[in-house]
């Protein structure tokens, strides 16, 4: 269908002020945080900003009638090209639909629209001494809708798990234009095993089944105390071993993060005031809970980590803790600082491996990086085996691009070989779709068949996931 016509029709549906049609404006929607879209940005036919379920429904019905692709988008911080119109289509920018409809503190839950930013939600919940535990590094930017669609997690997944554990129910518009309510969306109970679990099916569906328009989230009581231990290692291998030893001692920290030597250097360049010590690796353990429990866990970690670490710093000082945690959360982008003319790229950045093989994996990645002549920074959620590799290249040098693409392919294969997964939390999108068969075999066909139930014409975010 003619692009101009689509634009005019959309204006009739939601009004002129909530449709972008100018070619320049559309270009701003040709990228997310993936390296893929840096190489190949793709522009949609139009961008709409719906602010009600009915508006979404009308847009979907229109697209269904005319067989036009629909691509939901949150903040565009995904690293897989998931929210990009790779084959043309209408992008629904849901980030400005960011209402917190109701905090039901008594029933420990909250009802939100998809565009609410993760950090904003937690600021609001803090007023009720509640929190939504998954804690992605992109907390200040990413939307709850995007988190649900990607089943995001983050720094605290070790103890608190992923987004999926907190979704009580969803409101969604399927690709046929039906509005459905899954799980306990219309209830207020916490336990609910009634019916096929469509909520779980939707979580992590990356926008290929429908558009999430409402989310009922379970919240947890916000722990009163928190502490962070930083253990400094001269041998990289000692870090994963220490993690296992902490678990074996019966301690479950809320987060365990690793930074390798290059990550440490990068963080110190970006935020010198944090003053991370020079080392082969640093582990950051976060513990939370009641004050005596936190103190006990902190002392145990100090003792256990102290066996292998050069030094262990234990802090409950809010400012120091904020610095250390900030240091970790900026590593994702600050990695670029290791090279003057370099950029960190998001590709091959999110493999997940068994805990027992983290050390092997880190070593193998280093070897591969050397082999392809690419500098990498390693960090990640080591507590659950989720390794983040940040290749730092000059993306304007075609040779480097060629090498890095080979490297990330090898890293994905390495993950599967290690009995892991190509992605621990960032999702599949376009970039990891080629590994779907390898990871899931015949199950991919069942995934495709499920999709046709929700989306018989294949208009929902095509080209992603499988």
């Amino acid at each position: 269908m003619d692009k101009d016509q689509i634009q005019q029709d959309l204006i009739k549906i939601v009004g002129k002020s909530r449709v972008l049609t100018h070619d320049l404006d559309l270009m701003y929607y040709s990228y997310d945080s993936s390296f893929l879209t840096k190489l190949e940005p793709k522009t949609p036919y139009a961008v709409v900003f719906p602010h009600s379920t009915q508006e979404v429904q009308r847009i979907v019905q229109y697209a269904y009638d005319h067989k036009i692709n629909l691509i939901p988008r949150g903040a565009g911080t995904g690293e897989t090209g998931g929210c990009i119109a790779i084959n043309g289509g209408i992008v629904l920018d849901l980030a400005s639909w960011d209402e917190i409809i109701e905090v039901d503190a008594e029933n420990m839950q909250v009802l939100v629209r998809p565009g609410v930013i993760h950090a904003h939600l937690n600021e609001e919940l803090a007023k009720y001494k509640l929190f939504f535990p998954p804690d992605p590094g992109s907390s200040k930017m990413c939307t709850i809708g995007g988190m649900v669609a990607n089943n995001a997690s983050g720094l605290r997944a070790v103890k608190y798990g992923c987004t999926e554990q907190y979704i009580l129910g969803l409101e969604m518009v399927t690709a046929t234009g039906d509005i459905i309510y899954t799980g306990g969306m219309k209830a207020r109970c916490i336990k609910n095993v009634s019916g096929l679990n469509l909520t779980k099916l939707m979580v992590g569906s990356e926008g290929v089944l429908g558009i999430i328009t409402g989310i009922r989230l379970r919240c947890w009581p916000k722990p009163e105390a928190r502490g962070i231990a930083m253990a400094v290692f001269d041998q990289l291998d000692d870090a994963p071993t220490t993690v296992l030893e902490v678990y074996q001692a019966g301690i479950l920290p809320s987060g365990i993060e690793i930074l390798d030597s290059s990550a440490i250097w990068a963080v110190n360049q970006f935020k010198p005031e944090i003053q991370l010590p020079d080392a082969e690796a640093i582990l950051l353990f976060e513990v939370d809970g009641n004050p005596p429990g936190v103190q006990y866990d902190g002392e145990m970690i100090k003792k256990i980590a102290g066996k292998r670490a050069r030094e262990v710093e234990w802090s409950t000082d809010p400012q120091r803790m904020a610095e250390l945690w900030e240091g970790r959360s900026v590593t994702a982008t600050a990695a670029a600082r290791i090279r003057d003319d370099g950029s960190r790229i998001f590709a091959g950045e999110d493999i997940s491996v068994p805990l027992s093989r983290v050390a092997d994996t880190l070593r193998s990645i280093r070897a591969l990086a050397d082999q392809y002549g690419v500098q990498v920074v390693n960090y990640g959620h080591i507590g659950d085996g989720n390794v983040h590799t940040a290749p730092v290249i000059n993306p304007e040098n075609p040779e480097e691009v060629e090498q890095v693409l080979k490297l990330v392919h090898e890293i994905h294969l390495l993950a599967i070989e290690m009995q892991g997964s190509t992605t621990g939390e960032h999702g599949v999108g376009v970039v990891r779709r080629p590994y779907a068969e390898l990871e899931h075999g015949k199950a991919v066909q069942y995934m495709q068949r499920i999709k046709t139930v929700f989306d018989p014409q294949g208009i929902m975010n095509p080209g992603k996931l499988f």
Binding site: M27, Y28, S33, K140, F270, T333, A336
Partner: protein
Amino acid sequence: MDFQKIPPVRDQLMKCVRCGKCRSVCPVFTEVKNETAAPRGHVFMVQMLRDGKVQPSEELYERLSICLMCENCTVNCPSGIDVHELNAAARSYIYDQNPTLGKEVVFDTMWTRPGLLKGSTRLLWGTQRLGLQKLARSLGLTRILPGDLPKAEKILNKVPFRSARQRLPEVNPARGQKKYTIGYFLGCGTDLLQPSVALATVDVLTRNGCEVIVPKDSRCCGLPQIANGKMDTARRLMAHNIKIYNSYDFDYIVTDCASCSSALSRKNLEFLLGGLKIEDQAFEFAEKVMDLSYFLIHVLDLQLPELKDIETVRVTYHDPCHLANAQDIKEEPRELLRRIPGISFVDMEEANTCCGGSGTYSLTHYDISMKILDRKMDHAMATGADLLATSCPSCMMQLNYGINRHHWQAKVVHPIQLLSEYYQRVPVINQ
């Protein structure tokens, strides 16, 4: 200068990871909630422009100029990208390719010639009879002042009759023993809109052993030109100012205007003049430039004896972006306020978020500017302060508009005015 060769364009564009961190700190994005207003979007577009994938069109200029130049994205970018500089460089490039952009009169002629600027300010902003609207139209300014001229007029309506430059002698001797020779960089905003701030600055400095010279032929710092696509004009102004100030033997070059000190800082001179012949002289000049509050705290280390029987006033402080973001000066103005007897200092939430003024932004983007201002005023009013202090004449103008808009009884002041008032009450000190 060739667009491709401007330092951030040459070195930084490829560093953007598109992580979106800058979205979360951009005051414009917070209101507009649309990627076309995101700092990340600006970086992307500048790259497209450099690569010839988009034309240097007026439409692109319009999109880039939704940015306030508050630099919040720059200080928060983990990849170390000077986002606002990329934006400014692109605007300038587009401007050069589109002579019809229509701001020539204001930014090339008026702002480069203090006398003319003063005259036109009077005409443009002051004369009720002629009216801003009519005059702006006749200057071809309507395209950058869309729609809301009458409201904009209110922002600018109180232009004092006599400028600071008219009231101040060129040489202001130190009272008591002379410690330093200071070149006072009297910016256009202070000079024309807040002359009493300039008088207070000279008062406080001379009381504290500084001979204060106000060089006659000093010109605009160039910041309005950078923000409005005229980097070449800014370069010319800068070269002129460097020559003038370097011809004296100043110990320090001090300014009470956050925007001026940021424009004259080494960081900005690297952006503007990096790689040019004048670079060394520029850095020599920048070495001496210092924000007034920084000078008062770190060089003079002012100690202010308590006064008897004084009423306490509650003061809150708004961080000008050009001080807090551009120069990381946040503590000194607060410390100065705390040191003044009779002041009870209270911080507001989001003190370091732009007020939406940003020079001419409140005129060119009235609606967005007001949304940002309203948020600022909510935080300021929540402190229950009697006085709202800030160290930038442009912020003062915007905040003044804010207190009127919100019918708030507080007064907007520059910290130096409070200090000068303190001294008025203890005339014996330091004399």
